[in-house]
C-alpha cells in the first residue's frame, strides 16, 4: 500500500513542479566550523534578565561547596525526598550523587528500563547538565542519551540544570555549528534535543498565565566557573 502511495505522491509533486532538476547542493549546510562560545568571563546580565522574565531562577555559584549549599536550600524549600539525576561527567565532578546521599534524598532507580517511567514519576526534582545556554533567550539546550533520560527535565515539578560559564552562546544562530559538530562526530543528531526556555506554562484558562502545566513548574539554572572543570583532580 505504502510504496504505491509514495510513487503516486512523488509523481504528482514532480509533475506539479515541472520535473525540477535535483539539486543536492541545497542539502548542504552553511553554518559549519567552530562554535562561537561566549567568553567564560563575560557578564551574566542578559542571562539573568532573560531567565527572570521567564520566571526561571538563575544562580551563579563559585565552587562545589556553594553548589551544595544551593542544592541544600532547594531540597529544603521544596521538601525534596526523591531525585532523578543524570549520570553525567559534570555532575560527577560536582559530586551531586554524594550530596544527595548525604542529604538523605533517594536517587530514583534507573537500572530497570521497564520500570523507569513509574520510578521517574516519583521524583520531586530532576537534576541535569546542559549542552549550552543561549544568552539571547535564556534557553538551555539539553540532549537525550543513555544516561541522560528526557524525563529528568520533564517529569519532576522542579528541574535543576547545571552549566559551566564556558557553555554560553549568543543567539539561536550559534546553535547551528554546535548541531553540525554533533553530526560530524556522531554521524547523526541525538534522538532528542530540547530547547528549554523557562518553566512549563499555559494561558488556556481565561488567558491567565499558570506555570507548571505538564512540565516542571520551577526551573533553576545554575552556572559554575569553567575553571572548576578544567582543573585536574
Amino acid at each position: 500500500m505504502s510504496p504505491e502511495a509514495k510513487e503516486k505522491i512523488l509523481s504528482a509533486v514532480e509533475l506539479a513542479l515541472g520535473f525540477p532538476r535535483r539539486d543536492e547542493e541545497i542539502l548542504k549546510g552553511r553554518s559549519t566550523g567552530e562554535v562561537r562560545w561566549v567568553h567564560p568571563w563575560a557578564p551574566w546580565d542578559s542571562v539573568e534578565k532573560e531567565l527572570s522574565a521567564l520566571s526561571a531562577r538563575f544562580h551563579r555559584v563559585e565552587d562545589r561547596g556553594q553548589l551544595w549549599d544551593l542544592l541544600g536550600s532547594i531540597v529544603e524549600e521544596h521538601g525534596v525526598r526523591n531525585a532523578l539525576m543524570w549520570d553525567h561527567p559534570l555532575l560527577e565532578k560536582l559530586k551531586v550523587a554524594q550530596f544527595l546521599d548525604e542529604k538523605g534524598v533517594r536517587r530514583v532507580d534507573t537500572s530497570d528500563p521497564e520500570r523507569f517511567r513509574m520510578e521517574a514519576a516519583k521524583a520531586d526534582v530532576g537534576i541535569t547538565a546542559a549542552e549550552a545556554l543561549i544568552e539571547e533567550s535564556g534557553a538551555i539546550v539539553v540532549r537525550a542519551a543513555r544516561e541522560m533520560p528526557r524525563a529528568a527535565s520533564l517529569l519532576p515539578p522542579i528541574h535543576v540544570a547545571i552549566i559551566s560559564s564556558a557553555q554560553r552562546i549568543s543567539t539561536i544562530w550559534d546553535i547551528v555549528p554546535l548541531w553540525r559538530s554533533w553530526l560530524e562526530k556522531e554521524g547523526r543528531l541525538p534522538s532528542a534535543v530540547h530547547f528549554i526556555t523557562g518553566p512549563s506554562r499555559t494561558a488556556d484558562i481565561e488567558l491567565t498565565l499558570v506555570l507548571g502545566a505538564h512540565g516542571p513548574k520551577v526551573l533553576h539554572v545554575v552556572a559554575l566557573p569553567e575553571e572548576l572543570f578544567s582543573q585536574r583532580e
Binding site: M1, L10, I134, P149, W179, H194, G212
Partner: protein
C-alpha cells in the same frame, strides 16, 4: 473534522452576538498582535528575517521531491519508519493499523491541525481506542464536546467557573476555581494517561531533510510527554512542511514563536530524530512519520497558488485579521481559519463547500504585513475569488444574480455614453427615494448597506460640473501672479 464552511454567515452572526467571545477575541487579538510587534521590533533586522523565512520556503517547495526522498532516507537511517498517504482516508488507515498491530488502547495527542484535517480521533475511537487531547485548552473542549473557538486558545470562550463545573462533572473532582488549581487537576489527570498510554500522536512544525528530524514547539510540555513516555510515536505531517537544512531550522526557530505569541522561543522546542537510541531509558521505541498529500500536490501545480503551501501555521494572520477578530475561528467551519484558512480551505476540500470564504475579507492587508514567510495573502484571496468565479476546475464564486450584475456593470463601464445615461437614471431614482440628502430605500442587496448607514443621495456628477469648473480654474490661474 466535519465541513461546515457553508454556514459561515450564520455562524458569523452568532459569534457577533456572543459577548464573551467578542471580549476574548479582542483581548487575544490585541495581546498577541502587540507581543508579535514588540518581538519583531526588538530584532536588528525584522524584514530580513522574514525574507529568509520566505526564501527557505520557496527553496523547499521548489525542491520538494528531493527533500521528501532525503527526509525518508534519513528517518530510516535514524531507525524510524516513513509512511505515505495520498488522502485523509489512507492516513487514518495507516495510523489505525499501527495502533491495532501494537495493541494500543490509549493514545495521547498533542494539538495538531493536520490530525483534525484527517479526522483521526474519530477513526481511532471507532477502533475502541481512547484518545486524549493533552493540550490544556484542547483537553477542556474535548471534555465539553465542543469545537475550538480559537487556534491559540481553543477554550477561551469558557470562563473558569464553567471549566470548574466541567471538571467537577466529568472528572469527579471537587469544584476548584483558580486557574492554578484547575491546571493542576488537568496535570494530574493527564499525567496518568501519559504514563500508561501506548502511543503518542503529534503533528510537526517542520521536518528537516538534512537530518531526518522533526520540530515540535509548545509551552505546556504535553507534546514532550507524548513523545517521551509512550512506546510508539506517530507523527503526521503535510508534505509541504519539509525544509532543507539545520540552517533553515534555525530560521524557523527565530520566526515561528515570535510570530505566534511574541516569544523569543517557546517554552519547549523539541527536535526528534528517530526513536530512542539503544540503551536510552525513555523516548519512543518506534517512530512513525506519516507524510500526507491530501490535495497539497494539486495546490503545488499552480504557480500562482503555490505560496499557500509556505504557511507555518503560526496564527499571526488570524491575530491581526479584523474579520477573524469579529467572528472567531468557529465561523470558518473547518480546521483552518482566518486569512490562510480562507485561502487553503477551498483548495483542500471541494471548493463549492467553501465558496464564501475567500470573499469574507476586506483585503485590508494586515495579514500580509505579519506573515513570517511573506505569503501574499490578499493576492491569494483575489486569486481564489477569480478561480471560483472563472476557472472551470473550481466550483463556487458569487451566486448567479450578483455575477450577472457584475458583468452587466462591467459592460456598461466600457461604454461611456451608456454609463452616463444609466447614472442619470439612477439620479432620477435618487430624487424620488432620497430625503434630507440620503436614500430612504434601496433595493437589496444594496439596501442591506443602507440598513446601518446613511447613503448620500446622488448629485449632479462631477463630469457635468467640469466645464464650468475648468473655466473658473483658468480664470483663477490667470488672476494669480505668474499664473
Amino acid at each position: 473534522m466535519r465541513i461546515r464552511c457553508l454556514e459561515f454567515s450564520e455562524r458569523a452572526k452568532r459569534a457577533l452576538g456572543d459577548e464573551m467571545l467578542q471580549q476574548n477575541l479582542q483581548r487575544i487579538g490585541v495581546r498577541f498582535k502587540t507581543a508579535r510587534d514588540l518581538a519583531f521590533a526588538a530584532l536588528e533586522d525584522p524584514e530580513s528575517l522574514r525574507e529568509m523565512g520566505r526564501a527557505l520556503k520557496e527553496k523547499a517547495i521548489a525542491n520538494l521531491p528531493l527533500l521528501l526522498e532525503t527526509l525518508e532516507m534519513r528517518v530510516k537511517e535514524a531507525g524510524g519508519t516513513v509512511h505515505w498517504a495520498c488522502t485523509s482516508k489512507e492516513a487514518r488507515k495507516i495510523v489505525c493499523e499501527i495502533a491495532r498491530a501494537k495493541g494500543v488502547r490509549t493514545v495521547v495527542k498533542g494539538k495538531s491541525m493536520v490530525t483534525e484535517e484527517i479526522s483521526l480521533n474519530e477513526a481511532l475511537q471507532a477502533e475502541g481506542i481512547e484518545v486524549w487531547e493533552t493540550d490544556l485548552g484542547e483537553f477542556i473542549i474535548q471534555l465539553a464536546g465542543e469545537p475550538p473557538s480559537h487556534i491559540i486558545g481553543p477554550a477561551v470562550h469558557k470562563s473558569k467557573e464553567q471549566i470548574a463545573d466541567l471538571f467537577a462533572q466529568k472528572l469527579g473532582v471537587p469544584k476548584a476555581e483558580a486557574p492554578e488549581e484547575l491546571t493542576r487537576i488537568a496535570r494530574e489527570k493527564l499525567r496518568e494517561k501519559f504514563l500508561n498510554s501506548e502511543m503518542g500522536v503529534t503533528g510537526a512544525n517542520a521536518a528537516v531533510a538534512e537530518t531526518g528530524s522533526i520540530l515540535l514547539l509548545e509551552n505546556e510540555g504535553n507534546i514532550r510527554m507524548s513523545v517521551t513516555m509512550p512506546r510508539i510515536l506517530v507523527t503526521v505531517m503535510g508534505i509541504e512542511k519539509v525544509i532543507a537544512t539545520l540552517d533553515d531550522l534555525a530560521v524557523i526557530l527565530a520566526l515561528l514563536p515570535r510570530s505566534a505569541t511574541g516569544q523569543k522561543l517557546s517554552a519547549y522546542s523539541t527536535i526528534i530524530t528517530g526513536p530512542r537510541a539503544p540503551g536510552e531509558l525513555d523516548g519512543p521505541e518506534e517512530f512513525h512519520l506519516v507524510l500526507l498529500d491530501n490535495g497539497r500536490s494539486r495546490i503545488l501545480a499552480d504557480p500562482d497558488r503555490r505560496q499557500s503551501l509556505f504557511c507555518l501555521r503560526c496564527g499571526s494572520c488570524l491575530n491581526v485579521c479584523p474579520v477573524y477578530r469579529k467572528v472567531g475561528g468557529h465561523a470558518y467551519g473547518w480546521v483552518y481559519s482566518g486569512p490562510i484558512g480562507a485561502v487553503l480551505t477551498p483548495q483542500l476540500i471541494p471548493s463549492r463547500l467553501a465558496r464564501d470564504l475567500p470573499f469574507a475579507s476586506t483585503l485590508c492587508g494586515a495579514c500580509a504585513e505579519v506573515c513570517p514567510v511573506k505569503i501574499d495573502l490578499p493576492k491569494l484571496l483575489l486569486i481564489m475569488r477569480q478561480r471560483l468565479s472563472e476557472d472551470p476546475n473550481f466550483d463556487g464564486g458569487l451566486p448567479l444574480l450578483p455575477r450577472l450584475g457584475s458583468k452587466a456593470h462591467g459592460w456598461i463601464l466600457t461604454r461611456p455614453r451608456l454609463y452616463r445615461l444609466a447614472a442619470q437614471g439612477a439620479r432620477l431614482c435618487s430624487k424620488a427615494l432620497a430625503r434630507e440628502g440620503r436614500w430612504k430605500w434601496l433595493p437589496p442587496p444594496v439596501g442591506r448597506w443602507g440598513k446601518m448607514r446613511d447613503i448620500p443621495a446622488m448629485q449632479v456628477p462631477f463630469s457635468e460640473r467640469w466645464k464650468k469648473l475648468k473655466k473658473e480654474l483658468l480664470r483663477g490661474a490667470a488672476n494669480e501672479p505668474g499664473g
